[in-house]
Symmetry: D2
């Protein structure tokens, strides 16, 4: 099974990049499953029911989220019926709306897609993601060996430790949240594909998708400058492609995907 993953889609510029390049990426890589992180899709903060549907129509099979999942209040309107949306599975309350994992059926194969959030330097305390993963896997491994985790976390230490902890037990641990793609895509010794961060999808000449002047002003003044998402200019798309062995669920290969003015999309790479 081949999976295409696209990192945090940031605002309208991110949505444009997604709809412009998803067809091309699909045409080039021919993935069976496409997963897109949508935690910043609605103006940088959360997602709406409308955007959720657009992403599915644009070719996404599953939408993963992160710490911004609840930022747009529209989520509470549509999450109960959003069967392809995954929010972090380790929110502490049993009454948390939405799903922390979903299954995608591809012919005879079933892929489990999990979203988990880290705790280190996140300014929020969810259930321990290491123990939660154990708990989820106890059940999921009854169903399938094909398991993809979007691990939404800040620190490289927590992300790497998490991947090594699950090495050989899941197909892929792909990090999100920092909005900058890392250059460490690899298959760990026991067969888990790993990338510390897939990067973001949105404006290229910006600070994590935010207008750089606004971000700079905040660092200079420490005043609560309003972040403004940059919605024009050059774009960037970050993600990766992972190939799995359908029999044992191990990853065979992971390829980073990055599209920007310095690395324009090409069918020849």
């Amino acid at each position: 099974m081949r999976i295409l993953f696209v990192g945090d889609v940031m605002g309208s510029r991110g949505r444009q990049m997604l709809t412009a390049y998803l067809p091309k990426l699909k045409s080039r890589y021919r993935p069976q499953v496409t997963i897109v992180n949508g935690e910043n899709a609605a103006g940088g903060r959360g997602i709406t029911g409308k955007i959720y549907k657009e992403f599915l129509q644009a070719g996404a099979d599953v939408i993963t989220m992160g710490n911004h999942v609840w930022d747009n209040r529209d989520i509470f309107e549509f999450i109960d019926s959003a069967k392809k949306l995954v929010r972090p599975a380790n929110f502490p309350s049993p009454t948390t709306p939405g799903l922390g994992q979903v299954y995608v059926q591809v012919n005879q194969l079933k892929l489990a897609v999990i979203n988990l959030q880290g705790n280190a330097l996140m300014g929020q305390t969810l259930d321990n993601p290491f123990h939660k993963a154990d708990q989820l896997l106890a059940q999921i491994t009854q169903e399938t060996k094909l398991i993809f985790i979007d691990f939404h976390a800040e620190t490289t230490a927590e992300k790497e430790a998490f991947a090594w902890y699950l090495d050989g037990r899941v197909s892929a641990v792909i990090g999100t949240h920092t909005h900058v793609q890392t250059n460490d895509a690899r298959v760990l010794p026991q067969g888990t594909a790993y990338l510390t961060d897939a990067g973001m999808t949105g404006a290229y000449d910006a600070v994590l998708g935010v207008q750089s002047e606004k971000s700079i002003e905040r660092f200079l003044t420490q005043l609560p400058t309003r972040y403004v998402i940059k919605d024009n200019g050059r774009g960037v798309l970050g993600g990766c492609v992972v190939d799995l062995d359908d029999l044992n669920g191990h990853a065979r290969k992971i390829m980073p995907v990055v599209i920007n003015a310095d690395h324009p999309f090409s069918f020849d790479d």
Copy 2:
């Protein structure tokens, strides 16, 4: 001018990687100046006078540091006479030992090397690095247009904002501290080379250079498991090469450097 930079050298495995590959990298890239981040050189925590000298003998021209600068008490013994060591320039006290910037003379050219530390999520509060950079540059630009900054910081937001703030005013802003190389090397529109993080130099099958079992145990138990630096097995080296226009100090090109089992060193790249 061509500059070779090597990211956080972590413990003995990192020192081995540095001494093994620095000659090869120099032979391949032929840099005029070589800069190495040594904040984790002594068992992961700080640097000693002995290691400082070894790095210079191995071919480094300047050693930069970071938040771990004071971890090994030996620093207080040799820093006053270490003319090629740069610690973060924005420590708040005027009596802070050591230098926050140094100059390297290469024939007729002079390169200023600055070390600054970010404040976001660093668990420590130094002077505002944006304002401090302005203050340092007011003086340095009287001396040279060739200016290299090792910006030691945690968050991608602070690193990107810092680089955009200085775009066109310095030759390069290269991030360190997260120990994972990012895949975003670029020259910003006004001529500043930028890389969010250069990555680390040390053990490849480890969590930021620490034995993965020890790191995992801490996340699982929240007990103060003693971190043990992994000092054997496969290695990694992270860094970059930056080419500057000697006349205006702008960067022409930045190339990431990564050496590991998945990307072995080759003279043909």
Copy 3:
């Protein structure tokens, strides 16, 4: 000189408590100067020009602030002309609106009122308050020996260290921000009055002035429950009275002030 200080006034319930008890407190203690922390006066977030004027009319001579100073955008409309409002003096930018210190004239005597913010665990990085205090005092001590500091900070360590650092150099260091009065009012050996936190003014049966159910829900679910200020029910007022020696500026005495259902106001205490 006798100074009456009232801690963080929280929303409408806090404003009611202030206007109800300030006359009684003045009648009982007969202070020459009354200082009120107003960072939460407007619905828990910042202050408006209207409230600022109300506080002055109710008998406050100076309004101090804290990390919430910019929360209500109205501040940017009136702060330039608000000569009795003090916001933290250690914002890093020289263009920060407003004043970090003001003088109050009482007959022949002049009291300097300073507002400074701590950095530890505040989620924001201002200039080092210890060094900033030195800098401010270099000038202020030319004018007067009567110096009052509202130190707005989170940790007891930073607050105590700050007070010991300034012991004998200022008349009083009174902490704010945690909204819970501490039981450690004392005059330090060199003559500085100190109280780790003066406490808050607002609803008594609430979590720092916020409806307890809302606050509890956030801790239980980690969802972004909207905080709602409790604006009815029993009230609390926290503060202190400090007596200064007019000649040397040293504190003679500090008395905590607390009014709530368990400690009703009385003229006989």
Copy 4:
């Protein structure tokens, strides 16, 4: 039932204060149960088997801990057999050494003593203390209605929310960790005694028990100054006395206890 609680005993000066005043406090208040927080008893960092025994001999019935529980490695030697030591119950791993709750038998009555740690701004992530309390109470309430919780946490928000959450379900929620006693002892409407922080026991002229010069130096320089516990000079003891209704477990009364040079011990208070 009357309970005497003594807050964080800090180093040798704290141990001296405890042994000097515990007999006097017992003689004055005649508590049936005495509980002492010992997380800083061994030089400010953790506790040893020897000190644990000394505290029991000095009259403590139960020793509670906090985030410093594992600082002194001796804990791993004796905790398995320390039946009167309680460490935070919400460490995430089921293999955590030690107990998170103990029972004390007083004639026909049984008191449950629980230790829980907060997560907000603690730099460590334990299981959610609100949910963990629910889980513990489900079992404990089968045994007794007399339940005492030492809630070791940083922020006033988490402490107050926790107390309101448990109001009427436990006898007392007494906060520790900040080392400064708060002035808010009260019985909440449904019968739970509450105090945000009981304060510390140790040196009075110090920063949370640490030599003030050392603490100040760290804030001034941001260098890793070694903290040195102040072990001489004037002392302080912080704590409280709680009276319970034996039939329903509700608190009838809570009285803060503070002994220092400004509030010397007296049998007449």
